[in-house]
């Protein structure tokens, strides 16, 4: 969207233009990074911890944005990937905490030995990559199957949503292996450092900021590479991209996998800082809330995803603190308002204001969506 406006602008000299073209997109990443690195100086322990949690969600939001904002696939099941990443980390923390004995919940669920698939998670060199690669591979497989049968648009959303529901029911049901509804909690140490220590939490915070910055750089690079244009082309007209010789199924499954891997990273960072991962993190409700983060910030803009994630999570926290009885009204209104009044999100609207043009009140209707729409049937 942003690029289309540049056509109307007088062109700068090529060399300067190229330099600006490289630096400009990186500027917001640098600014956000600097602010976040300095933020702890102004925040209490509690707020810093909270911000760290929001940043984990921001990493995930970038992943959702790649899928939704750029490629036009709305996943309502990202809680699944977030949860899998979180569980991989949680399993490691749990085994570290148990220190050779049986983790507490297995004990009260009637297991006498650590099950075989838990064993490798003793080792951080297995658990950490698994938190990222695991969701990535699984998402690729699911995505490949789903996209191969040309499931897209709202169908895809519903299927991912059902996946989130089913997997959370499954995790609740397998209490002896997953901790059931309680999930995994009560961790004490990470690599031998106490999780309750301020210094451990500080390190985790800065690690989260670093990962977020890297994620933003990666996403900026990806969306500006030729591949990025391909993604947008798929969003706008999947069939034409297919006809021009691209393997759309593979590309979509790939983006889905990358997005899931980012969610896995977010989950793995979230667990030691929040101290719990449970099926409640992977169900329908959190999954939809993840999407809201991107919708508010501005889909199709990496910065928007990050800003949206931080702002919405912050609003959720503050509203529920101050108006415990009525905050859901605000939250519900946020969904409606974000979509109805500011479909371009905060960043999109801001950019439009800078350009002194009215914000795009309607999200451009993609032909792919129109094809699903019976009103488009006449043209086929």
């Amino acid at each position: 969207m942003a690029a289309s406006a540049s056509l109307a602008r007088p062109r700068t000299r090529p060399a300067l233009g190229a330099a600006v073209g490289v630096i400009r997109p990186l500027l917001p990443v640098v600014i956000i990074g600097i602010i976040l690195f300095l933020a702890p100086a102004f925040l209490s322990d509690f707020r810093q911890n909270l911000l760290a949690k929001f940043l984990c969600l921001a990493i995930l939001a970038v992943g959702i944005d790649l899928m939704w904002g750029y490629t036009g696939m709305l996943s309502l099941g990202h809680g699944v990937w977030f949860g899998l990443g979180g569980y991989a980390m949680g399993m490691y923390l749990k085994l570290e905490d148990a220190d050779g004995r049986l983790p507490d919940f297995m004990n009260w669920s009637g297991l006498i030995a650590v099950p075989w698939f838990w064993k490798p998670f003793e080792h951080p060199w297995f658990a950490l990559p698994a938190a990222v690669i695991g969701p990535g591979i699984l998402a690729f497989l699911v995505g490949y199957l789903v996209f191969r049968s040309r499931v897209k648009g709202a169908y895809f959303s519903i299927i991912t949503q059902a996946l989130a529901l089913i997997l959370s029911i499954f995790f609740v049901g397998q209490q002896q292996y997953t901790g059931g509804t309680n999930g995994l909690t009560n961790f004490s140490t990470l690599f031998g450092f106490s999780l309750a220590d301020r210094s451990t939490q500080d390190v985790l915070y800065f690690l989260t900021v670093a990962v977020l910055v890297l994620t933003m750089l990666f996403a900026t690079w990806l969306t500006r590479a030729p591949l990025g244009s391909l993604l947008v082309a798929i969003r706008d007209d999947e069939d034409r991209v297919r006809f021009s010789g691209h393997n759309v199924t593979l590309v979509k499954a790939g983006v889905f996998a990358v997005s899931a891997a980012l969610a896995g990273i977010a989950g793995a960072l979230y667990v030691p800082q929040v101290g719990i991962i449970s099926p409640a993190n992977m169900g329908i409700v959190p999954s939809i809330e993840f999407v809201l983060l991107v919708a508010v910030g501005g889909r199709g803009t990496i910065t928007g995803a990050v800003i949206g994630a931080i702002l919405v999570s912050w609003a959720r926290s503050t509203l529920s603190e101050n108006y415990p009885d009525t905050w859901l009204y605000f939250f519900g209104a946020l969904f409606i308002g974000a979509v109805l009044l500011f479909p371009a999100g905060i960043v999109g609207t801001w950019r439009a204001l800078l350009r002194r043009r009215p914000a795009p009140l309607r999200w451009p209707r993609s032909p792919a969506a129109a094809r699903l729409d019976p009103r488009g049937a006449a043209h086929e």
Binding site: S4, I32, S44, A196
Partner: protein, 441 residues
């Protein structure tokens, strides 16, 4: 439709040269981020200065009020139950304040919404302890929420009072449990059923920790006392289709259903049980998660005659209860609807009083001192006398089997002679060895 110029544009772009990307975004971001940072810190009266805080101490007692936290789900699926308990906490606080407060200071409740979401519970617990610096927190209902906040309270050395019957096998140094543990509810109720000549148990529960652990205990107990488990069935939380499960019950030869279903599922289960033609007189059911409010929501006509096991009913005949019931109903009427009292409501009410008594005894709100003062405290509760166990942080309670009436209140039909000592790890039962070993040394 397919000749959309925008698409052509994008396709051209894909196959053509890369364009210089326009920015402006960079400028756009700066103020937004700054405002977030400000906002995140802004509502903290204690922003950077509290870096050292977070550990134990006599938090909350500055000024002329003592801040106490209340942490329950006011939204989401658990709000159904937890709102009533929150009201009990608030009422006890109001009563204590009316009689002069604690240590000459008024209690100032700080209510947080756990939103039926376990990570939110952990977040709000941290907020109450670290940001609001409450002296104590009363809260949680589900085991999952308690397990989620347990590490928060332990690592911050802060106190939680937990008011609901639960699956036992826990004894945190920073949690006081004022609801029943298993040997104050489940174990005696099974004994009662066996005494009544019921041998074949059909275990029905929601799929989460409490029912699974409860059923594990029941199985061990039955194995040791000649009973038999016919079947063990779990349904997802919020499940509302019970026709199939009821068909299974009918085709079995069970003579008692031991029910650990939770929340909305109970409504569906009992209504559909009745529709299938099974009345309380045909098949005994024993429920451990249905109190007065739940019975009323299912309907007295449906629940009439079914058995429940608790420590307290609204109809309990003690002088304290005669004052407690009208007080609670008047209190809830102010905020809308007159509510019945129930076991968790009463346990929550007790918990506030026990903490206040301990603070008075200790002369401070310091967590460690309050913990010491708690040991052995006695209180004349609406359910009768209760006493805090010297070491395991539970309280002794009288166990009562009740029968639901048509008006959805519950009549006591059997009770233990006096309060039963809490035994969260079932160490005093010969068949409880396998549970006792879970106790952390």
């Amino acid at each position: 439709m397919t000749n959309d110029p925008r698409t052509n544009y994008w396709l051209r772009k894909r196959f053509g040269r890369r364009t210089i990307v326009k920015a402006g975004a960079a400028l756009a971001v700066t103020p937004a981020i700054a405002s977030i940072a400000a906002a995140c810190g802004g509502d903290d009266d204690d922003a950077p200065a509290t870096a050292t805080g977070g550990s134990s101490g006599s938090g909350g007692s500055s000024g002329d009020t003592i801040k106490v936290g209340i942490l329950h789900s006011l939204s989401g699926t658990m709000a159904v139950s937890e709102v009533a308990v929150k009201d009990a906490d608030l009422m006890a606080i109001e009563e204590i304040n009316a009689s002069g407060g604690v240590l000459g200071k008024k209690l100032e409740p700080k209510v947080e919404d756990g939103a039926s979401d376990w990570p939110t519970f952990a977040e709000k617990a941290k907020k109450l302890i670290q940001s609001d610096k409450v002296a104590v927190t009363f809260g949680c209902w589900t085991s999952a929420s308690r397990k989620a906040v347990l590490p928060v309270f332990e690592s911050n050395k802060a106190l939680l009072y937990y008011p609901v019957q639960y699956e036992g096998l826990e004894s945190s140094p920073y949690i006081f449990y004022t609801g029943a543990t298993t040997n104050q509810q489940i174990v005696p109720s099974v004994e009662y059923l066996l005494e009544q000549g019921k041998k074949n148990f059909f275990l029905v529960g929601s799929d989460y920790v409490f029912p699974r652990t409860a059923n594990k205990i029941i199985k061990a107990q039955l194995a040791a006392s000649g009973g038999k488990v016919i079947a063990e069935e779990y349904t997802p939380l919020g499940h509302t289709e019970y026709a199939t499960l009821i068909a299974k019950i009918k085709s079995s030869n069970a003579d008692v259903i031991y029910n650990t279903l939770n929340g909305d599922s109970n409504v569906a289960f009992f209504k559909q049980l009745r529709d299938a033609g099974i009345k309380a007189s045909d098949l005994t059911t024993m429920s451990v998660s249905i109190a007065e409010e739940e019975a009323a929501a299912i309907g007295g006509d449906v629940m009439e005659g079914h058995l429940v096991a608790w420590n307290y009913y609204q109809t309990v005949d003690t002088p304290e209860n005669k004052k407690f019931v009208p007080a609670y109903q008047a209190f809830t009427e102010k905020s809308g609807k007159k509510r019945p009292t129930s076991d968790p409501v009463e346990a929550a009410y007790i918990s506030v009083y026990l903490w206040a008594m301990a603070v008075k005894k200790a002369g401070t709100t310091d967590v460690e001192k309050v913990k010491e003062a708690m040991a052995g405290l006695e209180f004349a509760a609406p359910e009768g006398p209760v006493k805090v166990h010297p070491t395991n942080h539970h309280i002794s309670k009288t166990v009562r089997i009740g029968k639901i009436r048509r008006d959805a209140l519950i009549d006591e039909i059997w009770a233990t002679k006096g309060p039963v000592e809490p035994d969260p790890y079932l160490e005093t039962y010969p068949w409880g060895k396998e549970f006792a070993k879970e106790k952390k040394s």
